[in-house]
């Protein structure tokens, strides 16, 4: 209840702070949220103006089943319509309700047909882009600025820096995943959720509870570390004792991943939340523009990765970790407490993943329940590329994957950027299955 009150207050403050929006548009009440259950389904969507602000008061005629009604987007740009009959519905966006200076994207189907189903939320997206409608009804669409795939040196530099940024943040999470794999043989499919957890906790502390950002980040990382510690104590160590095979354990992590994803949605909903409400301040470095958050995040990531590297190479505990990674039984025979090392690996891996989540949330200016899910395959690609189970391989792999993902943008549309990383993964397995730093005998 308290959290809801705080969010409500924040919302009100947010609305009050944007008088321009309130002045130019009539203020319809937000569309009543529709909840799907066994007898009701929902059609819904969010419409945004080209500026990214919610489009208020857009009218949508919805016909089908026993309905013939008009839904209107609320002050959050959202519309929803409850249905009681499953089947096709046509949604016709009333183009005259779009504010001046914007038109419906020419690629959009209007009217559109969607299949409504009971007990389901069916979303449909109408995209509004910049442009004008002439009196005769023809529309002129303003080309979006980043639509091109043209390669210029400036764009190359910008994407290169973005690639390094993604690589560093990916490496934070991937090193932990790789160490867990190395020490226990477990492919942890719930590692992405540890990243999400970090971001969402930072949102909770910094935004909802209003703590100082740095304090919030530190608390989030500490809590994430604790989840790793207790996870190993409560789940993984007992299961290792029971002698569960690695495949079985892997499927357990998939169950955990499903449970965690929906738990995030349960508490915070499916929308993207922002950790830092202030608008990002951009820093111009020659041709490259970066937000302040990005610069600081990259700095923190470099320091932390260097620290992890130092610990692994120079300290006793780091050498023990690498020994367990190489060969657990040999390490145990030479007097290393394998269980203690694994507990430590779990704790630091989840802490690193949490940190990665906090920084990603700041850099991408938002975090939602599937932030980590989207990164999981990139992490796997990174550690496979570097050599499964090797920490430095994970670092190298993450940098390569980060660069590939961002540089792909230069030549291919944005939808493909993650796909190319995965294509590389498959190609690597064809040519050098053990990865860059892996050894032949790991192939099996």
């Amino acid at each position: 209840m308290i959290m809801m009150a705080i969010t409500a207050v924040l919302l009100l403050v947010g609305l009050g702070a944007t008088p321009a929006l309130a002045a130019t548009t009539p203020t319809p009440t937000p569309a009543a949220a529709c909840a799907a259950n066994a007898t009701t389904g929902c059609l819904q969507g969010t419409i945004k103006l080209p500026s990214g602000d919610p489009a208020v008061g857009i009218k949508l005629e919805i016909k089908g089943g026993d309905l013939d009604t008009v839904a209107t987007t609320g002050s959050d740009g959202k519309w929803s319509q409850a249905i009681t009959v499953a089947g096709p519905y046509t949604i016709n966006l009333d183009t005259s309700s779009i504010p001046d200076g914007a038109v419906l994207d020419s690629a959009a189907k209007n009217p559109a047909t969607v299949n409504g189903a009971l007990n389901k939320n069916v979303g449909f997206v109408f995209k509004i882009v910049g442009g004008t409608t002439a009196d005769d009804g023809t529309t002129t669409q303003t080309p979006t600025t980043d639509a091109g795939t043209g390669v210029s040196f400036e764009r190359f530099l910008q994407q290169l820096v973005s690639g390094i940024r993604l690589g560093l943040l990916l490496a934070l999470a991937a090193v932990g995943l790789s160490l867990i794999f190395g020490t226990t043989g477990l492919s942890n499919f719930a590692h992405g959720e540890q990243v999400t957890l970090g971001g969402l906790l930072a949102y909770l502390f910094a935004n909802v509870l209003g703590l100082n950002l740095i304090l919030a980040a530190v608390i989030s990382v500490v809590i994430c570390a604790a989840t790793g510690y207790f996870q190993d104590a409560a789940i993984w160590k007992p299961l290792r004792r029971r002698g569960l095979g690695t495949t079985q354990l892997m499927i357990v992590t998939i169950g955990l991943s499903i449970a965690l994803q929906y738990a995030f949605q349960y508490f915070l909903g499916a929308s993207t939340v922002r950790i830092d409400m202030a608008n990002p301040v951009t820093v111009q470095l020659g041709p490259v523009a970066l937000s302040q958050q990005s610069l600081v995040s990259m700095g923190i990531a470099i320091v932390v990765i260097a620290l992890v590297g130092f610990v692994l190479v120079k300290t006793r505990i780091g050498r023990a970790t690498r020994a367990v990674s190489d060969n657990p039984s040999l390490a145990a025979a030479s007097g290393i407490d394998v269980d203690r090392i694994i507990r430590l690996v779990w704790t630091s891996a989840t802490a690193l993943a949490g940190l990665s989540g906090v920084l990603l949330g700041l850099v991408l200016n938002g975090v939602n329940w599937q932030t980590g899910l989207q990164l999981l395959l990139l992490m796997f690609a990174a550690i496979t590329l570097g050599g499964l189970g090797t920490a430095f391989g994970a670092l190298a792999g993450a940098m390569i994957i980060g660069l590939v993902v961002e540089l792909t943008n230069l030549v291919l549309p944005g939808d493909f950027k993650y796909a190319t990383a995965l294509v590389i993964l498959i190609l690597v397995l064809l040519v050098r299955p053990q990865g860059i730093f892996g050894r032949r005998e790991r192939i099996g």
Binding site: A35, A36, N37, A38, T39, A86, G87, P88, A107, K109, A112, T113, N115, A117, N119, F124, V125, S187, L239, R242, L244, G245, T246, T247, Q248, M250, I251, V252, I254, G255, L256, S257, I258, A259, L260, Q261, Y262, A263, Q265, Y266, L377, F380, A381, T384, L388, P413, D415, F416, Y418, A419, L422, V423, L425, I426, L429, L430, P433, R442, I443, G444
Partner: protein
């Protein structure tokens, strides 16, 4: 009480729905991979998507339904070859990561805005664009038909024609799996699952057998994709990673390496979800858990169920513990 009846009706409806049958078929295919051969295929949803796209696009392109169906199967064979050639010689978890990635690639390409003209991009393809030829095959006539507690159209996209064909395919595939797993070929597959080296020592080409299993299960996955989209619409995101996870959950719930395990698992999967959601909706006050949250709560229960099943009863409801060796080499 009303709420309870509604839940019961929803469960009964979902128990026989073509979507449940599609999940069962996908699980039957995965069972050949995972249950019988020990291959960790985490891209079953990718096979479904490949089959669904190939089928829908062929029909929209004007090909007859039989040809569209065959094209879908051939597409699945090609996809299996692409996945299998680099990975089947490697350790099991490489196949897991590659299949998962490949399925994601299929989904991303399918929903890409570049291909909107062919695949419909992220909006997908609506059912009535490809459903016609299948509906035309119906000999069930028109009107509504009562059968037990169910009342559906005879032929409509939610109707008996779709339900009957879907479950007929399930029955056919169960019979097929039962038959081939008793054959010498099936014994080799199970041998590979138990001890690959022993099978190799007997002079069998393990790589080739694994590839055959991957192709066969993948083709069955493609059939599942077609069954899944026929009564609904084709949307890339509806067959993403979660779908693969749900297929695994259904298979492990029912019992891997059994003939009826995948079918029972698929029904239990949907029933459990609706039951939890219905009960939560009825007994937990709306102030604690709203309608949206009951749905998410049901998914949380599914995730935990998967964990508990794998830990405490890895052979599932129908399985035989001795028969199933979980450890993939």
């Amino acid at each position: 009480m009303d709420q309870f009846l509604t839940t019961l009706v929803a469960i009964l409806n979902s128990a026989i729905s073509p979507q449940t049958a599609a999940l069962a078929i996908a699980a039957i295919g995965l069972n050949i991979h995972f249950g019988y051969t020990g291959l960790l295929n985490f891209g079953q949803a990718g096979f479904m998507l490949i089959g669904a796209y190939a089928f829908a696009i062929s029909i929209i392109g004007g090909l007859p339904i039989i040809l569209a169906f065959l094209i879908a199967l051939v597409a699945a064979v090609i996809f299996a070859l692409i996945l299998g050639i680099p990975t089947l010689k490697l350790r099991g978890d490489y196949l897991a990561i590659v299949t998962l990635s490949a399925a994601e690639i299929v989904r991303m390409v399918g929903r890409s805005s570049l291909l909107t003209n062919i695949t419909g991009g992220s909006n997908g393809i609506t059912g009535n664009e490809y459903r016609g030829p299948f509906t035309d095959l119906s000999f069930f006539g028109d009107g509504r038909v009562d059968f037990g507690p169910w009342n559906y159209d005879a032929t409509g996209s939610n109707g008996w024609w779709f339900i009957a064909t879907a479950w007929f395919v399930v029955a056919l595939l169960c019979l097929f799996v039962w038959a081939i797993m008793r054959s010498p070929w099936g014994r080799v597959l199970r041998g590979i699952r138990e001890d690959e080296d022993a099978v190799r020592a007997l002079g069998k080409n393990v790589y080739s057998y694994k590839m055959q299993a991957l192709i066969l299960g993948g083709v069955i996955g493609a059939i599942a994709g077609i069954v899944y989209i026929l009564p609904a619409s084709l949307q890339a995101d509806s067959m993403g990673r979660s779908m693969t996870y749900f297929i695994f959950t259904a298979l492990l719930l029912g019992g891997a390496a059994t003939v009826f395990g995948p079918v029972l698992g698929a029904i239990v999967f949907f029933a459990l979800r609706l039951l939890v959601q219905g009960l939560a909706g009825q007994f937990v006050p709306g102030t604690i858990m709203n309608g949206q949250q009951t749905e998410q709560f049901a998914w949380i229960v599914i995730g935990i169920t998967l964990m508990l099943v794998v830990i405490f009863r890895p052979q599932g409801i129908l399985g035989n513990k001795k028969e199933l060796s979980f450890d993939v080499k």
